[in-house]
């Protein structure tokens, strides 16, 4: 149910409303981090806050997880945002303002031990306006958890042709204590008219292990920002991100990983497919300051250009000050290989089926790292054949 509404949703009206809500003007092409990310789709929404339909007290929690008190949640949120340099990010400001107006669902949880059952966090996109969700997670030292976040626009139902512009703002904030382990998967499947702004932020203490695997596709506009800080190094981070866009869609992943101590490890793979006139953006920042000696970091961006008019912008951004480190990065942009297509065709496999097999193969090495609960949503079918 709309909390506030406006009769007309002209782009300038929505832009002004969003700026007022966030307390800062919308980012624009003059800002380096936003220069490829046209926010026009976002400004087409009806300028109103929508009820996310999320009942924070509702979901039953797996054994071993308790709710965090609001004051503790706020303190944790603030400290993680400060530590990761995210508090002044416009999507974060927008999310916090929207949630503060009780438009979205805040779920704040404390994980004390080893949780056997996966924690499912379903984010329902809305039919119009802006919905916001926040998940705050505190993992005690030695705790372990599997987290699955799902956004499935198809679950909203209704006639796709009648659907209007809407936006989803999501903020996930995690603190991993010493030796804690988190295996997280996020599948976010949009539809025509929908925009997604998502920050996924984790602060890791030494000895902790974070594996984050995401699959995004089907959004008119999606901006995803995973931001990880190893507070004293000596932690493990694995990032796997997959994004698919077609038509006029824009999808942008800006990742940021910082090592504030020695002997940290990062294994990052980003994959993107762009078809039609779509634009896919990746910016992968890795900061290795002087204290982060003996850091081992590897980043690879692999991109598949499926049409002559699609665009892919990929940029590794490594800042390495420490001198005893092993940091590698690589970026490739390619088309489907004619020789592979012909080989499949020469065995009786039709061109479109051969293309689908090769696209699926491209996605597979990210998707296989998704937790089973997320894989159950069949992201592959939806990424290859978006709504």
């Amino acid at each position: 149910m709309p909390v506030a509404s406006a009769a007309v949703s002209a782009p300038c009206e929505a832009a002004a409303w969003l700026a007022e809500l966030a307390g800062a003007p919308l980012p624009g092409p003059r800002q380096e981090n936003w220069r490829f990310t046209d926010l026009t789709s976002l400004t087409r929404i009806k300028p109103c806050l929508a009820d996310s339909g999320f009942d924070p007290a509702g979901p039953s929690l797996p054994a071993g997880i308790e709710r965090l008190q609001p004051e503790a949640a706020e303190a944790l949120l603030t400290s993680v945002l400060e530590a990761s340099g995210s508090s002044q990010h416009w999507p974060v400001q927008l999310n916090r303002a929207a949630v503060a107006r009780r438009a979205g669902g805040l779920l704040a949880l404390h994980v004390r031990g080893s949780v056997a059952e996966p924690l499912l966090h379903n984010l329902r996109p809305v039919a119009d306006g802006l919905a916001a969700h926040q998940l705050v997670l505190l993992l005690d030292p030695g705790a372990s958890l599997e987290l699955v976040e799902l956004v499935d626009a198809a679950s909203v139902g209704g006639d796709p042709a009648a659907m209007t512009a809407a936006a989803l703002s999501a903020l996930t904030v995690v603190q991993l204590g010493e030796g804690a382990r988190l295996r997280a998967g996020m599948v976010a499947l949009g539809r025509s008219g929908l925009s997604l702004l998502s920050h996924w932020i984790a602060v890791q203490d030494p000895g902790s292990h974070l594996s984050l695997t995401t699959a995004l596709g089907g959004w008119d506009l999606a901006r995803f920002e995973p931001r990880i800080v190893q507070t004293a190094g000596a932690a493990d981070t694995q990032l796997r991100t997959l994004q698919a866009c077609s038509g006029e869609q824009i999808i942008d992943t800006h990742s940021y990983v910082r090592f504030d101590g020695p002997e940290g490890r990062l294994d990052q793979l980003h994959k993107a497919m762009a078809d039609g006139r779509a634009r896919s953006v990746f910016n992968g920042a890795v900061q290795v300051p002087r204290p982060a000696q003996r850091t081992r970091a590897a980043q690879l961006s692999r991109n598949l250009l499926l049409s002559a008019r699609a665009r892919i912008d990929t940029k590794p951004e490594l800042e390495i000050v420490a001198d005893d480190v092993t940091c590698t990065h690589g970026a490739t942009v390619s088309r489907l290989r004619d020789e592979e297509l012909f080989y499949l065709q020469s065995r009786g496999i039709a061109g479109d089926q051969a293309t689908a097999l090769l696209k699926r193969a491209f996605c597979e090495d990210v998707l296989r790292d998704l937790p089973a609960e997320a894989a159950g949503l069949n992201p592959l079918a939806l990424l290859l054949d978006p709504v």
């Binding site: 020789e339 080989y343 499949l344 090769l358």
Partner: protein, 269 residues
């Protein structure tokens, strides 16, 4: 085996093809009947592999003249996948590695495409696994290769065995094997040749492209053709291959020169 009056499976007439502006095939004529095994030999660059790829429908080649009738149909009108489903098979000289595509899935999709075209019921995962395990025996292949990506990290011999496994599953009417013997050690060569021999029958035909007699010691051809400068220069029985082994290809230059001078118009007056 030569069977008098067996149906002609493949009839190539004056086939000409080019890559870009470069003519490669300059009038190939070849007729293959059911039951026959043909060997196509010739120096590097003579057009053997081009002929095989043109027959399979590789998009890099343009057919500029001639015709190919495959089991009564105009082959050149068919898309590559339809040629394969209709029973044309090309065993690649360099099988392509496809990371991420499971070999088992690939084989199943290909087999079902062929079965569907023949009006046969498609095989589900379990039925296909039974079939593929049975056919693995033809090339003595380790089932572990089914779980890997198509040809990825396979040795040269394993890739060639995988090609023959595909042939065993697709049961083609005409199999063209492009230098299937290259890069094989003696044991692997015996296994691959044994597989090809097992699959050859009275209803099918095989065209072996090779440089070496050692393959033809294991698979006896009914006909041997020598290709040069984009055409078949000489055809004969299995003894032609033995002659090549003894005397090499030097005679080819003389025959080509004679052929070209015969085609050069003589100025009169």
């Amino acid at each position: 085996m030569i069977i008098p009056d067996a149906p002609v499976l493949l009839e190539i007439r004056d086939l000409q093809a080019s890559v870009g502006d470069q003519p490669i095939l300059k009038g190939v004529n070849l007729s293959i009947r059911a039951g026959e095994i043909h060997a196509l030999m010739g120096r590097n660059g003579s057009g053997k592999s081009t002929l095989s790829k043109v027959l399979a429908g590789h998009p890099a080649y343009t057919v500029t003249g001639g015709s190919v009738i495959f089991r009564g149909e105009d082959l050149l009108e068919l898309a590559p996948e339809i040629r394969a489903r209709s029973g044309m098979f090309l065993g690649f000289q360099y099988p392509v590695e496809i990371p991420g595509v499971s070999n088992l899935e690939f084989l199943r999709v290909a087999t079902n495409a062929r079965r569907q075209h023949r009006g046969e019921e498609e095989l589900d995962t379990f039925a296909f696994e039974d079939l593929v395990r049975e056919r693995l025996a033809v090339v003595q292949m380790d089932p572990a290769f089914l779980d890997r990506s198509v040809n990825e990290g396979f040795s040269g011999g394993e890739k060639k065995r995988n090609e023959i496994l595909q042939m065993a599953l697709l049961e083609p009417a005409v199999a063209i094997l492009d230098e299937t013997d290259s890069g094989l050690d003696i044991d692997a060569l015996r296994i691959v040749a044994g597989g090809v021999s097992q699959l050859a029958g009275a209803e099918t035909a095989t065209l072996l492209i090779t440089h070496y007699q050692r393959l033809l010691d294991l698979i006896t051809p009914d006909y041997v053709h020598v290709m040069a400068a984009g055409r078949i220069l000489r055809s004969g029985g299995k003894e032609l291959a033995l002659e090549l082994e003894r005397s090499g290809y030097e005679w080819v230059d003389a025959e080509l020169a004679a052929l070209e001078s015969a085609q050069t118009p003589v100025e009169v007056g």
